[in-house]
């Protein structure tokens, strides 16, 4: 017999107590030759930065393998110490920042490779359930063009909200929860 899921509720303003991001914003050492800095600001519908949001990311390693038992592609190596999960609370300026690596491409529908991407969840006071999005990479123009998920978004401006911007040696990915510039969010 199917059981219905337990409903979602907001993390509220005090999640820092229980959802520790201690040490989780660095998925790799900043000294890693492939290390990238992925950062951004979370904005609400009035354009104010959201200083009480929690960002989580999930990604494959640089070779394109998820550290998960259902990714059984043994031919692609796992990486010691790379779990693929990151968590960061926004600061007083509404900013988050991760140190990670660009993931390799992973298969999508029908086995075609997807463009490299990072899965992202945003939790906050005032969000009764998470918003889920994906971060794509600006140096993957061709792969992004061919990506089925990006391709399913009709409006080019909306599609563009999912591609991080290269800025001063870092990748910037702002999140607009609401408004004209709203980030594309997925029903997962």
């Amino acid at each position: 017999m199917a059981l219905m899921p337990t409903p979602s509720q907001t993390v509220g303003p005090f999640f820092h107590i229980g959802l520790s991001d201690d040490g989780r914003a660095e998925l790799v050492s900043p000294d890693d030759p492939d290390a990238i800095r992925l950062w951004g600001t979370v904005f609400d519908g009035t354009g104010e930065p959201v200083d009480d949001a929690l960002i989580e990311i999930w990604q494959a390693n640089r070779a394109g393998r998820y550290a998960h038992p259902e990714d059984t592609r043994e031919q692609i190596p796992l990486e010691d110490g790379f779990a693929g999960f990151g968590r960061c609370a926004t600061d007083t300026q509404g900013r988050y920042e991760f140190i990670t690596v660009k993931p390799g491409a992973v298969p999508g529908l029908g086995g075609a490779l997807q463009a490299p991407h990072i899965e992202m969840s945003v939790f906050a006071r005032g969000l009764l359930k998470r918003v889920a999005t994906r971060v794509y990479f600006p140096d993957e123009v061709e792969a992004n063009e061919a990506d089925q998920v990006l391709g399913s978004i009709a409006d080019p401006a909306e599609r563009g909200t999912l591609v991080a911007r290269g800025e001063a040696g870092a990748l910037r990915f702002d999140i607009h929860l609401q408004g004209d510039q709203q980030t594309a969010f997925f029903g997962v």
């Binding site: 998960h68 969840s121 009764l128």
Partner: protein
């Protein structure tokens, strides 16, 4: 994380073909909407554009695995994390984490946080003039066992005021965060207590539209798990989304 027989078979189904086995989308009918105007903070934070349906690929059916991470011996016992014991009514909160087919979700991280017995969080943003308790931090975590069971020892959280509307009080609750096996199964919810007189005016509780769904966020008094002359108990079972594929029956 070691895989049981059922999970191995699912894993095989998932990766032998080019299509993966996704998760059911029945949570859509259960979860609150983003915009629930009675909860004022949703007005400027709720996305307004429709969500883009995301097919489940390898990226969505995988997720963080915590089985290898060390959980401290006392992380599940919020009453033994300091020199002395916290004030308040000691309680045991336990239950099972199940998937939508009633199967246990094993070795999965459960994180909780809550106010102290006076209704105060040890957080700089909390200005409620109720006492902090030097013996209570209000955070716990544990992994589910092979049966999907978890267990915390804590104190009953107090109700606390907030500024959402005149004389607004949150119904007493414990925040609960779960990962389950996949990015798709991530869930943060709140566990409430039976018979709370504050439910009627709590817009967060009422953001869940169907009263039967709200009911499933309310723990049950759990006589069986009380410890005589020591602690009362509440039971809270949590259901994460089920898999699309027909589950393989156990022998």
């Amino acid at each position: 994380m070691t895989l049981g027989r059922e999970e191995s078979q699912v894993a095989q189904q998932v990766t032998t073909g080019s299509e993966v086995v996704g998760y059911r989308r029945d949570h859509d009918a259960v979860d609150p909407p983003y915009l629930h105007p009675d909860y004022v903070a949703t007005r400027t934070r709720a996305p307004k554009r429709p969500l883009i349906p995301l097919p489940h690929t390898l990226s969505e059916i995988t997720g963080p695995v915590y089985g290898h991470e060390r959980i401290g011996e006392l992380d599940h016992d919020l009453t033994r994390q300091h020199e002395g014991e916290p004030l308040g009514e000691r309680i045991i909160v336990s239950g099972r984490v199940l998937d939508g087919d009633g199967r246990p979700v094993r070795n999965s991280l459960v994180e909780i946080w809550q106010a102290n017995s006076a209704g105060r969080y040890p957080h700089q943003v909390d200005r409620h003039p109720a006492p902090l308790d030097p013996n209570f931090s209000g955070a716990g975590r544990c992994l589910t066992d092979d049966d999907g069971s978890y267990r915390f020892i804590t104190v009953k959280p107090g109700a606390y005021p907030w500024k959402n509307h005149p004389n607004a009080w949150r119904a007493a609750h414990i925040h609960v965060s779960l990962f389950g096996p996949a990015f798709a199964t991530r869930l943060v919810t709140q566990m409430y207590f039976p018979g709370d007189p504050l439910f009627f005016q709590d817009p967060i509780f009422h953001s869940v539209r169907d009263p039967r769904d709200r009911e499933r966020m309310i723990s049950g008094f759990d006589l069986e798990n009380t410890v005589p002359e020591w602690a009362l108990a509440y039971r809270f079972d949590i259901v994460l989304r089920g898999r699309e594929a027909t589950p393989i029956e156990e022998d």
